[in-house]
């Protein structure tokens, strides 16, 4: 009798939980652009776009104290929007945190996402990618006076690395260098910068262009090692199977690379860190 009641309560709790999450999944659609029309059509009809970017990544996508947005990802997004016929005033910026990116696209809360979004096979199950518009490499950021970390092969002798918990760079360190180094995982990259500056870790690691953004924020104090050891293809996340939208985004990226604004944006955003700007990548089929 008593066990029976426990089971009943358990079932009710579980059912309530499922209902709540189901509601969470269903709501929210329609706040951005919605409907079955593809990206090109929507941009043409509404002259408005909702674009997902990072709000907290200096040099790539950063919300500044005055409420404007700056960074390479922001410039790419603006350029694509312009090619689609949408002026800057028609863009609504939306924060796209790493874990939410697929959901934002699937629910139609954003039209596309430009937020250091690496193209992976798992993600292709949920979204389509335009681009890549940039190829980043996992790299190391050290204090300027550091001389003994020269690349991944110098990660020996119990050195301390910092990265964001659960992130792909952190997992790479764990699988490849776990025997020689220790990894401090933190909640945000800025925590790593703090730890790096006060000396409690020897290096921080993630994609080079992200590191370059942080290095540019602390002129003269941090330097990029410059020996990347992975390839991350940054793409523009779109609704799955939006072939027209993908083609239009690819065309815009190519135009941006050719008319020099691609190079210029990188130089002004991450150039001050001394980061060598790589060649523009070829668009994937």
């Amino acid at each position: 009798m008593r066990l029976n009641r426990v089971l009943q309560v358990g079932a009710v709790v579980l059912a309530a939980g499922l209902t709540l999450t189901a509601c969470g999944g269903g709501s929210g659609s329609g706040s951005g652009a919605s409907g079955d029309k593809n990206l090109v059509q929507r941009a043409k009809d509404n002259k408005k776009l909702t674009i997902g970017i990072k709000f907290d990544q200096p040099g790539l996508g950063l919300k500044k104290p005055d409420g404007t947005y700056a960074g390479f990802d922001v410039d790419v997004a603006k350029y694509i929007a312009k090619q689609l016929g949408v002026e800057e005033s028609g863009i609504t910026w939306k924060e796209a945190q790493s874990a939410q990116r697929e959901d934002l696209i699937k629910k139609g809360e954003v039209d596309f996402i430009v937020a250091t979004y690496s193209i992976t096979d798992k993600r292709k199950n949920d979204v389509s990618f335009g681009g890549p518009y940039f190829i980043a490499h996992q790299d190391l950021l050290v204090r300027s006076d550091n001389t003994d970390i020269t690349g991944p092969e110098s990660l020996t002798g119990n050195k301390k690395l910092c990265s964001v918990k659960g992130s792909t760079p952190a997992q790479n360190v764990k699988t490849k260098y776990a025997k020689e180094v220790q990894l401090q995982e933190v909640g945000k990259y800025t925590d790593c910068v703090t730890a790096l500056l006060n000396g409690s870790v020897d290096a921080m690691t993630t994609d080079d262009v992200i590191l370059a953004g942080y290095a540019a924020q602390q002129p003269g104090k941090l330097k990029l090692v410059g020996k990347g050891f992975t390839d991350e293809n940054y793409g523009v996340g779109l609704k799955k199977d939006d072939a027209d939208g993908k083609a239009a985004v690819n065309k815009a990226i190519q135009a941006m690379e050719q008319d020099g604004s691609w190079q210029k944006s990188l130089e002004s955003n991450v150039g001050p860190s001394g980061y060598k700007i790589p060649a523009a990548p070829a668009i994937a089929p």
């Binding site: 426990v6 358990g10 709790v13 939980g17 999450t21 999944g25 790493s98 874990a99 990116r101 697929e102 959901d103 992976t120 798992k122 993600r123 199950n125 949920d126 119990n158 301390k160 918990k165 659960g166 992130s167 792909t168 997992q171 699988t175 220790q182 990894l183 401090q184 995982e185 933190v186 909640g187 925590d191 703090t194 730890a195 006060n198 409690s200």
Partner: protein
């Protein structure tokens, strides 16, 4: 659905074992420190009463994430207070774990203290007065007469604190303790196509940990109750 669990990189048992260890050590520490705090709060010495009151009000009203991040960035990185030998090959992980336990003790002890104080209020004043009349001093009155009865009255509220603590341990991932929520971050990063199932999995394991704990302590509370 849950086929991502077959990936050998995901040490689900290990992650939840760390969660349980965090809870265990923090609970013991918080019980001891909370008992000392409540002793101070009801003591006749004004400076001890003042200290305990200020301590409880400061740490109870500080967000746990702030306390945990402070142990790492403030205590360890900036002030250089390290709880593990810095030349050991696992110093970062050990240090993070111990700092997290320290943070949880500092925070949870305030709730233990306040629960116990309400328990002390359930003991009739006459008992303490009778004990004083027999010539017992303050420590004896508290330790022999008041606290044993107070503890029996607050097992249910303390069970609430323990359950809250178990769930609060997920905050430890922000300083890199390899517990359940850090594994969840990893899965969220890799398993973008089955996010929903990742969340459901972790929710269910937490329910599976908390439900028996709640039922057991509820039963103990009933057994230990002081009949008045």
């Amino acid at each position: 659905m849950f086929d991502f669990l077959s990936n050998p990189d995901y040490d689900l048992v290990g992650a939840f074992w760390t969660t349980i260890q965090l809870t265990f050590f923090s609970a013991i520490g918080a019980l001891i420190w909370g008992t000392i705090l409540v002793g101070m709060r009801v003591s006749p010495v004004p400076i001890m009463r003042g200290f305990a009151t200020v301590y409880v009000n400061v740490f109870r009203n500080t967000p746990l994430t702030v306390i945990i991040i402070f142990t790492s960035l403030g205590l360890s990185s900036t002030l250089g207070v390290n709880l593990a030998a810095s030349d050991s090959p696992t110093s970062l992980a050990d240090n993070a774990f111990r700092l997290a336990v320290l943070g949880f003790i500092v925070y949870t002890a305030t709730f233990v203290c306040e629960s116990l104080r309400s328990g002390i209020n359930t003991v009739p004043v006459g008992q303490a007065e009778a004990a004083r009349a027999l010539g017992l001093n303050f420590t004896q009155v508290l330790g022999l007469i008041v606290l044993p009865q107070a503890f029996r009255a607050v097992i249910a509220p303390l069970a609430n604190v323990l359950i809250a603590l178990l769930k609060n341990t997920t905050v430890a991932s922000v300083i890199g303790v390899a517990e359940a929520s850090l594994l969840m971050s990893t899965m969220v990063e890799n398993e973008s196509d089955s996010l929903f199932y990742v969340f459901i999995l972790f929710a269910l394991v937490f329910v599976a940990l908390v439900l028996p704990l709640g039922l057991l302590l509820g039963w103990v509370a009933k057994k230990a109750e002081v009949k008045r």
